[in-house]
């Protein structure tokens, strides 16, 4: 679960991490008032979960409160990469000496957390990674003992600091690590991490992604995780509430299957044969008729879906249950889009019989079914 910048910073402040003074505004007037309160010059930043807001114009400056109100007004009317801007963060402009990059990421290969840092912050770090890979410093953390003081210090040292600044940066990195532990974050990233002209280190921007699998032990995120946010489309939110792994795509063929790998392969195959999937929908293992019916109704309720492909390789899942779910939808609300069903495995014969008697054809081979659903025959 991605946190908004203002949420990440609020957690960080509680751990003693320096962030710029400022406040959150939902309206241009609120933005102006915040500027009045903190004085000086400010930066107005769109609060969105998608990356790349800077290039999209989601970050502007205000030297007077009225100017800040106008800039906030502009940003609050933007939609960035499909995400409507609902809030802006109004923060004091820092006296920047240097912009760094610092993050603590989940390191899949080494099965630990790793610190990535660079003295070239403030810009797209992937650009740095591809152009000057030697500019990105990697420091692995012990999976059990985590970041010790000397780990953080070694990173700060390699970033070129000594003396009081070394200790200050060490503290900040240690606190970013603590943040990652306390909130089970798979990513904590500050870019830019600013060294100010008076020798302080400030997390000027801060991104935190919480491990979804850890949410059961984070009551503090319970409400937040239920909110439909821009990260999740309304359709996705609805599907996930119903226990489906669901990702909305921009094609016209609705897809349902059991198992993440199988559904991904189904999308690929539909693509391969020239079709365009409208979604990824995994009903998981052992889905019963009701679960299948729910999934089918959500998919056919999507306006952009023109046809539907159900691909089931039954193991724990039973073909008869899947068939019952489909037939139930047919009975209750009707099948509103052309449907191709592929089933194989456990209780195939029973399932096929149920679908046959409802006038729905089933195929047994995935390839064949994918070719069929992408052909003009089904329309």
């Amino acid at each position: 679960m991605k946190l908004f910048e203002y949420e990440s910073k609020s957690l960080a402040q509680n751990l003693g991490i320096n962030t710029p003074r400022g406040g959150l505004a939902s309206t241009p007037d609120e933005a102006r008032d915040i500027h009045k309160r903190i004085g000086g010059e400010v930066v107005v930043k769109a609060q969105v979960l998608v990356a790349g807001r800077g290039k999209a114009g989601g970050i502007k400056f205000g030297s007077k409160p009225d100017e800040t109100r106008d800039r906030a007004s502009e940003i609050l009317s933007m939609t960035i990469k499909g995400e409507r801007v609902k809030k802006v963060l109004v923060e004091q402009k820092l006296a920047i000496k240097k912009e760094l990059f610092g993050s603590i990421v989940l390191d899949r290969v080494n099965k630990c957390q790793t610190v990535l840092a660079s003295d070239q912050g403030g810009i797209d770090i992937e650009e740095v990674a591809s152009k000057n890979p030697e500019k990105i410093l990697r420091h692995r953390l012990d999976p059990v003992f985590g970041m010790r003081g000397f780990d953080a210090r070694q990173v700060a040292l390699k970033l070129g600091y000594g003396g009081q600044r070394l200790n200050a940066l060490t503290d900040l990195l240690s606190n970013l690590y603590r943040l990652s532990v306390i909130y089970d974050a798979e990513l904590v990233e500050s870019n830019p991490l600013v060294e100010t002209s008076d020798g302080k280190f400030v997390a000027a921007d801060l991104r935190v992604i919480v491990d979804d699998n850890s949410l059961f032990r984070h009551p503090e995120f319970q409400e937040r995780s239920k909110e439909a946010s821009a990260e999740v489309t309304p359709l996705e939110a609805k599907a996930r509430e119903n226990g489906l792994a669901f990702v909305e795509l921009d094609g016209d063929i609705g897809i349902m299957g059991n198992g993440a790998g199988l559904v991904m392969a189904t999308l690929d195959m539909v693509n391969h044969y020239g079709g365009k999937p409208a979604n990824f929908c995994d009903v998981g293992g052992g889905a019963d008729a009701e679960h299948v019916a729910t999934a089918l109704q959500i998919i056919q309720g999507d306006q952009k879906v023109h046809k539907i492909f159900i691909n089931i390789l039954a193991g724990i899942t039973r073909c008869d249950e899947v068939a019952k779910g489909i037939v139930e939808v047919k009975k209750v609300v009707g099948l509103k889009k052309p449907l191709v069903v592929r089933m194989q495995g456990t209780n195939f014969d029973e399932g096929k019989k149920i679908l046959d008697s409802a006038g729905i054809t089933t195929l047994e081979k995935m390839d064949e079914a994918a070719r069929l659903v992408t052909s003009p025959k089904v329309a």
């Binding site: 989940l106 559904v263 293992g285």
Partner: protein, 295 residues
């Protein structure tokens, strides 16, 4: 000695009294796996699917001999269940449980490494040596004994591909899911090593997906070690958009990293034949085998 699981396996099922644990205990036994005990805290003395249930692994081992574990306990308790199995000397430990926090997996894997234990999973369908035994939730009937080792990051897709192989008359030595999570006990490189040293395996199929770099690492390993056995691969998720988790916790393209195309490209660079659609795999394997024999 069969790879990871075989006739010699004597397994404990941790979380045996839950729905999944109980259901799959039955199926594993039907497939021929020796399930010698079950563990569920507070249910010691009961029996599940004809298997005696104990409160702890240690208590079970006071009464029976075991050498492997399969874990079905809910995610919040999975880390400790894994440690319990490791402390008791069970090896391998297969963790079916999904949705385990990454931090828990990270610590558990470090613990396993320190104690020399092999973890399969978490979020895996398990491991099967067709015709011998299975520690997992895969349907046994799509597999058949033979010489192809299969390693996968997914469940159902593995069954799909195994059934293609089986229908094409290509049997499997051992099939296993390394798990769909970002952090797993085994990665493709570990499994490639096992298959290299396994006499029953003469070719390898890797079933990858988007996210992480397990496939690229496998390709590097194949290149660096001049891997002697033929390898074919399929990578799921070409149609997946960046930044979206495709069902599995580990299946996410971050930035420009982890795309299916990059993985397929890297595999092809090191001589791995890559299927465009899963159904191509049997043909590719046969071609590759023929090519290897010609060399």
């Amino acid at each position: 000695m069969t790879l990871l699981v075989g006739k010699q396996t004597r397994a404990i099922v941790q979380g045996i009294t839950g729905n999944q644990g109980s259901f799959h205990t039955r199926l594993m036994r039907e497939y021929g796996t020796q399930i010698v005990a079950g563990v569920t805290p507070g249910k010691g003395g009961a029996s599940a699917q004809g298997v005696a249930v104990y409160d702890t692994v240690a208590a079970a081992l006071e009464r029976i001999d075991a050498n492997a574990s399969i874990i079905f306990v809910p995610a919040p308790f999975a880390k400790e269940a894994g440690m319990e199995a490791i402390d008791a000397g069970l090896n391998p430990v297969v963790i079916i449980t999904e949705m385990i926090p990454a931090r828990d997996s990270m610590v558990l894997m470090a613990y396993a490494k320190e104690h020399g234990a092999t973890i399969v999973g978490p979020n895996t369908p398990g491991v099967i040596t067709p015709g011998e035994a299975k520690l997992g939730i895969m349907p046994g009937d799509v597999f058949s004994p033979g010489g192809v080792g299969v390693a996968s990051r997914s469940g159902t897709l593995t069954y799909e591909i195994a059934s293609y192989l089986t229908r094409a008359g290509i049997g499997q030595s051992t099939c296993l899911g390394i798990g769909g999570d970002p952090i797993t006990g085994l990665n493709f490189v570990d499994v490639l090593k096992m298959f290299r040293d396994d006499k029953s395996t003469d070719a390898v199929v890797l079933i990858g997906e988007i996210g992480g770099s397990a496939e690229e690492d496998a390709a590097d390993f194949i290149e660096d070690t001049k891997y002697a056995k033929p390898v074919a691969a399929y990578v799921a998720g070409r149609a997946a958009p960046p930044g979206k988790r495709m069902g599995h916790a580990g299946a996410i393209i971050t930035g420009t990293e982890g795309t299916a195309d990059a993985k397929m490209k890297r595999f092809r660079e090191v001589g791995v034949r890559v299927a465009e659609v899963p159904s191509e795999l049997p043909r590719l394997l046969q071609q590759q085998k023929a090519a290897t024999i010609q060399q």
